[in-house]
């Protein structure tokens, strides 16, 4: 295998001046550095978005609280949602994809390294643009302000009549710019996976992570393009006298909703499919068994990809579609539960009969399975459109999608982080701290998002900066807010672990998990060129074949 390194005139890293090393990071086109840049950028944004969430929850801890004004509250939930989706979840997943795909398919870089760098910097500048609104949002009207139109920015609240100044423009431009970055990344993923696989790696022998990122790439192109188009239309409305969404001039508010959700729902799968990919790599390694039903896992994900393009209007059950429209989107929404269920069963099938090791990455993945199950079931409830007329836009739906995004996505991202941290840094993380992180975050998560379902069922709508006492909502909101502090402590432990381990962690070696995919065949961290010689594979688990020459996988696949 390609575990030996070649001396390419690499100067000793530590000896070079810090300015030069930083410069390297700015101008780099190396997929590993860009992947790490994506991840660090997203972690920074995660902390900012988390602070915004904490502000929201402190305001809601008791009824008629005066912690922040309604204006500030509305800006905070807009920024929280926009930040978490576009500048945390997407870039962190792109970061892992960018880092891992070339390593896992046995190649030296992405297909388009410069496009890769361009995409990262577009995303990064998109985020800067969004946050610049705090300074420039109201432009000449006075002090700046962040957008306050909500993360899905329904028309006509975004028209100039209801949103003067430039805060909405910063939101629009941030998403337009980062959207171009996302499409660039998607093109790069697809091309890399289709064209750059190492010899022997047919499509049927790719790691599931590559397969799932291929599907994600397709979804990004299909989903982000309409969003980008809609942002351009909104800019035309606001600056060139267009009337796409301007209801006062005959435009259609519902048109925006269609544009947004034809992006917005596939987007959920853009975010969760890479997390399925993490789970599909981590669960087998810590169960010591290959993934159960590989072809079915691929097929189910392809099915999810297709069906996810036909469910968007389940976000719009309350906008007055006909009974046929509502029935159609109820059907598609429920059908998507089938391939999703298949995936959960296959992960359980993977653990079945294994020898499960409860290391931090696996703990996060087990919690993911449990939480994603609940998120899927509340999704079925919301998919039954009459039930949605009650639950939609209430705190129940907020709890549901946080169950997906935090309970599903963030948990697997933490799992992935611990799993690949030794590869990226060359050092092991501290297992004790990681377990503290896990349990604190788990308790906090369940305190916050389990109990958040209840006020929704008791009639509490989302996006309200305060609520009336005596409606049975008080106790639940108190518990929900308490959970936030557990989560915040968990994240602090995570950051402390990250910094400590970077500085003092044990050297990890090439393959600390006794794993089976190609990234573990090279050094930790991998050299610039990844592999001294391009590997040749014969099965889905090339390292298993090497470790078990008497019983290689290719005999059975």
């Amino acid at each position: 295998m390609a575990s030996d390194t070649i001396a390419l005139g690499m100067a000793d890293e530590g000896a070079r001046p810090i300015g030069e090393r930083l410069h390297d990071w700015v101008v780099t086109v190396d997929h590993k550095k860009l992947g790490i840049l994506y991840i660090l950028y997203s972690l920074l944004m995660l902390v900012i978005g988390g602070v915004e969430a904490t502000i929201l929850r402190i305001q809601l801890i008791v009824p008629h609280n005066h912690f922040v004004s309604p204006q500030v509250f509305n800006r905070m939930f807009t920024m929280h949602g926009t930040t978490m989706i576009f500048f945390v979840a997407m870039p962190i997943l792109f970061g892992f994809g960018t880092y891992l795909i070339p390593l896992m398919i046995g190649t030296r870089d992405m297909a388009f390294p410069r496009l890769n760098a361009f995409s990262f910097w577009m995303t990064a500048f998109g985020g800067l643009l969004l946050y610049f609104s705090f300074i420039g949002g109201n432009g000449l009207y006075g002090a700046g302000n962040a957008p306050d139109v909500g993360w899905f920015a329904y028309a006509p609240l975004t028209s100039r009549a209801f949103s003067p100044g430039h805060s909405t423009d910063f939101w629009t431009m941030a998403l337009l710019v980062s959207g171009i970055g996302s499409i660039g990344t998607a093109v790069n993923f697809i091309t890399t996976i289709l064209c750059m696989r190492c010899p022997g790696m047919t499509l049927g022998k790719m790691p599931l992570l590559a397969w799932l990122n291929l599907i994600t790439g397709g979804l990004v192109i299909l989903a982000v393009s309409p969003l980008t188009a809609a942002q351009i239309m909104l800019a035309i409305d606001r600056y060139l006298g267009g009337h796409f969404f301007d209801t006062q001039a005959g435009g259609a508010a519902v048109l925006w909703m269609h544009f947004f959700w034809i992006f917005g729902h596939p987007e959920v799968y853009v975010l969760i499919i890479p997390c399925f990919a993490f789970a599909s790599e981590i669960i087998p390694v810590f169960s010591r068994k290959p993934i159960f039903g590989y072809p079915v896992m691929v097929g189910a994900t392809v099915a999810i990809g297709f069906i996810s393009m036909s469910v968007w209007a389940h976000h719009m059950f309350t906008v007055g579609m006909s009974s046929y429209g509502n029935s159609f989107f109820t059907a598609t929404t429920m059908v998507i539960a089938v391939p999703t269920g298949i995936k959960i069963f296959n992960w359980i099938g993977t653990m079945w009969g294994g020898k499960i090791q409860f290391r931090a990455p696996m703990l996060f993945c087990i919690a993911f399975l449990f939480q994603f199950l609940i998120a899927g079931l509340t999704g079925i409830m919301l998919g039954a459109s009459p039930f949605n007329w009650q639950l939609g836009n209430s705190y129940f739906v907020v709890a549901h999608f946080h169950y997906v995004i935090v309970g599903g996505i963030l948990f697997t991202v933490f799992g992935a982080f611990y799993y690949w941290f030794p590869k990226m840094s060359g050092r092991m993380y501290n297992e004790t701290l990681a377990k503290w992180h896990f349990w604190l975050f788990l308790i906090g998560f369940h305190l916050t998002f389990d109990f958040m379902h209840v006020p929704g069922m008791l009639g509490m709508p989302r996006r309200i900066y305060t609520y009336e006492p005596g409606r049975g909502w008080d106790i639940w909101n108190l518990i929900v807010t308490v959970g936030v502090f557990f989560q915040a402590t968990g994240v602090l432990v995570f950051v402390a672990n990250l910094l400590w381990s970077l500085w003092r962690g044990e050297p990890a070696g090439n393959d600390p998990w006794d794993a089976w995919t190609l990234e573990w065949s090279t050094t930790s961290p991998p050299p610039d060129y990844n592999f001294a010689t391009i590997p040749v594979v014969e099965s889905r688990r090339p390292l298993w074949d090497i470790k078990h020459p008497e019983d290689p996988d290719w005999k059975y696949e």
């Binding site: 004004s69 309604p70 204006q71 509305n74 329904y154 006509p156 609240l157 209801f162 209801t247 259609a252 508010a253 519902v254 169960s287 010591r288 068994k289 290959p290 159960f292 039903g293 590989y294 079915v296 309350t318 906008v319 007055g320 509502n326 029935s327 109820t330 059908v335 089938v338 069963f345 359980i348 653990m351 079945w352 009969g353 020898k355 449990f370 199950l373 079931l377 509340t378 079925i380 409830m381 459109s385 009459p386 039930f387 949605n388 007329w389 009650q390 939609g392 836009n393 209430s394 008791l458 709508p461 989302r462 996006r463 309200i464 009336e468 005596g470 409606r471 049975g472 106790i475 639940w476």
Partner: protein
Amino acid sequence: MKRSEQTRSLGRKIAGIAVLLAGGLLAATLCFGASASSAQVPSIFKPQSTPADSIFRLSLLVLTITGLIFIIVFSLLVYSVVKFRKRGGDNGREPPQVYGSNQVELAWTVIPVLVVLVLFFATARVIHSIQDAPKPPGTIEVIAIGHQYWWEFRYPALGVVTANELHVPVSDPSHPSPTFLTLLSADTDHSFWVPRLAGKTDLIPNRENHTWIDPHETGLYLGQCAQYCGTQHAKMLLRVYVDSREQFDQWVQDEKKPAVIEDQVAEGRRIFETTACLNCHAVSGTVADGHFGPDLTHLMSRATIASGAAANTPEQLKIWIQNPDSIKPGSLMPAMKLNERDLDALTAYLATLR
């Protein structure tokens, strides 16, 4: 021996977690019971009108099916995590490598498809029964118009205009008198949601939506705007008074009358008609004919002001007129900056608008 000790300690751990979970569930149920018991709680599980009731019954089916799925999959998950954990006395060898099974895959594809079919047909029936319900002869027609942070209710057949507090007659199943609402918006998106009466339906500018209710019992039902509509979305509260037939007819008679004109409050009326008040508010029978704000002809017939954000008392009215931001920051009602004498006179005038 070591094995069995380990198993026992794990068993104790699991029992501990189970007791904790059960305790938590019990506490949560008690809390839920306590918090949902008050009549003022707009719980979706206490329906008092046909649409809400159909949804409630559908929700019981959906909750049962999803609950069963949860129990089955959760048990499988817990079982495999506990049973197949790496144990202390392990021989260090890899477990048997199993790649999949087509029969099992087929089973866990076909069974969910059947479950989805059942759920879909049950749901489609309810969609149709609520959305395509016919209007019986005794139907009350109301036009509800969403405004930035308040509700306008017009009864075209009855000649009544009011705000924020919707009055409807109770609907007797033998002589149904449901209320059908046409939903419009004057500015941004809003959503009409009174959980005990019906699911929510949005009010969207340039679009006509419909919903209906047929409350079975008299009383006050609370709700609020459920689609983010701007700064004061939170205090766009909604009250539905379900009256007996006689009460409702009496209310309609009262509301149809023009405003009372009393000479003692002529000064207050002069202030109302010569300041900015009349740009936004209407009082029938006077020159005030604004439409940006609520119709004040029968202001005193309402229990609340500011779309439910404050009680309708002279003190609150004064605060509202002088400094609306102290009750509802960001509301579109301007601070009127009247002097003390004018404010008293104006409030006295408003207090006569019964």
